[in-house]
């Protein structure tokens, strides 16, 4: 096992980790704001990426505008889902499990819709910073991956600032921590939940767009991303978007080191076993502290 191989594994792990982190961050933002586990978070990524691809190739929009369009599409779908389904179910005091099933149903529907209306093709977007790569000790990392890491860190910090510094962010936090208390101080809890879904959709779509230069996106990608996003979010403690970022990178590294350390075919087995073990032994996630409640 050479140094460059290990380095390459670390590069790949971090790059994948950022992908998982984006999905995980959206998941945990939605969970934090609404106590809903969103099984269609990966689908947000696919929607964002597909919209951007279509705007870029079919409508001929410039790349930045197409990205903005894709992000907007994710946010709109997020808002729609909250207004059309979640709000009604919350009014009826639906159980946590039924929200999980709702989003599973929506994920199946969206994936089938993309196949039916857009087609089975895999799509790619042009990388930011060109197709170039950075060579370190014979190990390669793409410029786009570096951009992805930079944007990922930026997005995490922005999200944190949004939650702690802005009125809307603070209201969302308050509504999620103590809905009744927040309502008495005049916060519209329902609207905050809508914002939460918009935020989740936005993060998901942005993540999807950013990874599309690395991973070709098609109708089957959503479930895969959701699974890994779940794992990232749970590793990080689920109620902490920053934790999801750390969880995602940990997961990515565990996977790629498992490939060089154990065997390539046991990657998923190792990753999901680590997930189960961490859930049982460290119920608050690897960042600890932040209280994590089960059911």
């Amino acid at each position: 096992m050479t140094l460059s191989l290990v380095l390459q594994a670390i590069f790949a792990g971090v790059t994948n980790g950022i992908v998982y982190a984006f999905v995980g961050m959206g998941l945990s933002a939605i969970f934090k704001g609404s106590r809903v586990i969103n099984a269609m978070q990966g689908e947000f990524a696919v929607i964002g990426a597909m919209t951007t691809v279509l705007l870029l190739t079919k409508s001929g929009w410039p790349y930045p505008a197409a990205i903005a369009g894709g992000v907007l599409a994710g946010a709109l779908v997020g808002a729609f889902i909250e207004v059309a389904f979640v709000r009604y179910m919350a009014k009826k005091n639906a159980s946590e499990d039924s929200f999980l099933l709702l989003t599973i149903g929506l994920a199946l529907t969206l994936s089938a819709s993309i196949l039916f209306f857009i087609g089975r093709d895999g799509h790619l977007l042009p990388p930011i910073g060109g197709e170039g790569v950075l060579l370190v000790l014979d190990a390669v990392i793409q410029f786009h991956a570096l951009w992805l890491i930079a944007i990922g860190i930026g997005a995490t910090l922005l999200l944190r600032a949004f939650c702690h510094r802005t009125t809307v962010g603070l209201s969302m936090m308050a509504a999620s921590i103590d809905a009744d208390g927040a309502a008495t101080t005049g916060i519209n809890v329902g609207r905050m939940r809508t914002y939460t879904f918009i935020l989740g959709g936005l993060l998901g779509a942005l993540g999807g767009i950013l990874v599309t230069p690395l991973i070709s996106v098609d109708y089957t990608l959503g479930l895969n991303l959701t699974l890994k996003g779940f794992a990232a979010a749970v590793l990080g403690g689920l109620t902490n978007p920053l934790g999801a970022a750390v969880g995602g990178i940990t997961l990515g590294l565990v996977e790629s080191l498992a490939i060089i350390g154990i065997s390539s075919s046991y990657k998923d087995v190792v990753a999901f076993s680590v997930l189960i073990i961490i859930m049982i032994l460290m119920p608050n996630g690897i960042l600890g502290r932040a209280g994590r409640r089960g059911g």
Binding site: F85, L102, G294, G295
Partner: protein, 317 residues
């Protein structure tokens, strides 16, 4: 009471006559309905009586199916060995894994079982010396009951449904028993149940084991029906569709499980007549059930009946 007996008799006659009057593909779907009912019963017990979302049923279903396939095809043993081996392995695994994993609650438990299903599905691919990998294992013999070969859906139908009825009876017994009493207590208030010496962990684990047993039985039945097993039938998506059975039908009602199984086997069949759009429609139907009928079709049916009865009562007055 007498009218109830009459209803049961009518239902039995219809049940017995059904495979002779429906086309073979419908009989085939009815066989699958029976198999899915068995698998769904276990999940229904967990979901309805323990509040546990089990997204790992495809694992036990797969274990049962592979055990049957391996024992009959690779080792040439009688079918019954496969059934027993599958059940034993599934129950042992459920016990060993259940103890730690069932310490989780709510969403985390759901995610834990999902992870379990993902691991199992990867291992089914990986251990191809045992499972045949993607190519699977073919040529699993049809069941032979004292010389009577169950080689077509209309014959196998009876066997599968008799097993299904036995499982339903067992599930009914369980709910009605001392364990059932404790389960229902646990669901209502786990703190109070603990104070009354109800051992939550062990009870949850044992129901998980029963669920695995049902899953494994269903898997063995599936293997002898399809004559072929491969990794494609035991992935995470199958775990999800198993979970839909009690959710759609109603987790606490045993007839609800049958309704749920009918829904997941027949609805795609009917929708597929509408062309490639059928998967979208199935997804939407699922969303509609979850949003509009939170306690499943059976729950909605029950409410409708109470309302009708109330209205009739009003008329009578």
């Amino acid at each position: 009471m007498q009218s109830r007996l009459l209803w049961i008799a009518v239902a039995l006659v219809i049940w017995a006559a059904l495979p002779f009057f429906v086309p073979r593909n419908i009989a085939d779907l009815l066989v699958f309905t029976g198999i899915y009912t068995i698998a769904g019963l276990g999940i229904g017990l967990l979901l309805g009586h323990c509040g546990i979302v089990n997204l790992a049923q495809a694992t036990f279903y797969g274990l049962g199916a592979y055990a049957s396939a391996y024992c009959t095809v690779m080792m040439g043993l009688p079918s019954i060995v496969g059934f027993v081996a599958g059940a034993a392995i599934s129950m042992a695994l459920a016990y060993v894994i259940g103890r730690p994993i069932l310490r989780l609650t709510g969403y985390f438990l759901a995610l834990g079982t999902l992870a379990l299903s993902a691991i199992a599905s990867a291992l089914f691919f990986e251990w191809d010396w045992l499972t045949g990998g993607t190519l699977g294992i073919g040529g699993i013999p049809k069941l032979n009951l004292f010389g009577f070969v169950l080689d077509r859906p209309s014959r196998y139908y009876f066997f599968v449904w008799i097993v299904a009825f036995a499982c339903m009876a067992a599930a009914h017994n369980l709910v009605d028993s001392r364990s059932g009493l404790m389960l229902r207590a646990m669901r209502d208030s786990s703190t109070a149940a603990a104070a009354l010496s109800v051992d939550l962990q062990s009870l949850r684990t044992r129901v998980f084991v029963v669920c695995a047993l049902f899953g494994s039985l269903a898997g063995s039945l599936f293997a002898h029906h399809a004559s072929f097993v491969s990794t494609q039938s035991f992935g995470v998506d199958r775990s999800i569709s198993f979970l839909l059975i009690p959710v759609i039908g109603g987790a606490t009602s045993i007839p609800g499980i049958v309704v749920g199984a009918l829904f997941v086997t027949f609805l795609p069949e009917f929708l597929s007549k509408l062309g490639d759009i059928h998967q979208i429609l199935f997804g939407l139907a699922l969303v509609a059930v979850v949003v509009l009928l939170p306690d499943g079709l059976m729950g909605a049916f029950g409410r409708l009946r109470t309302r009708l009865a109330a209205r009739q009562g009003n008329h009578a007055r």
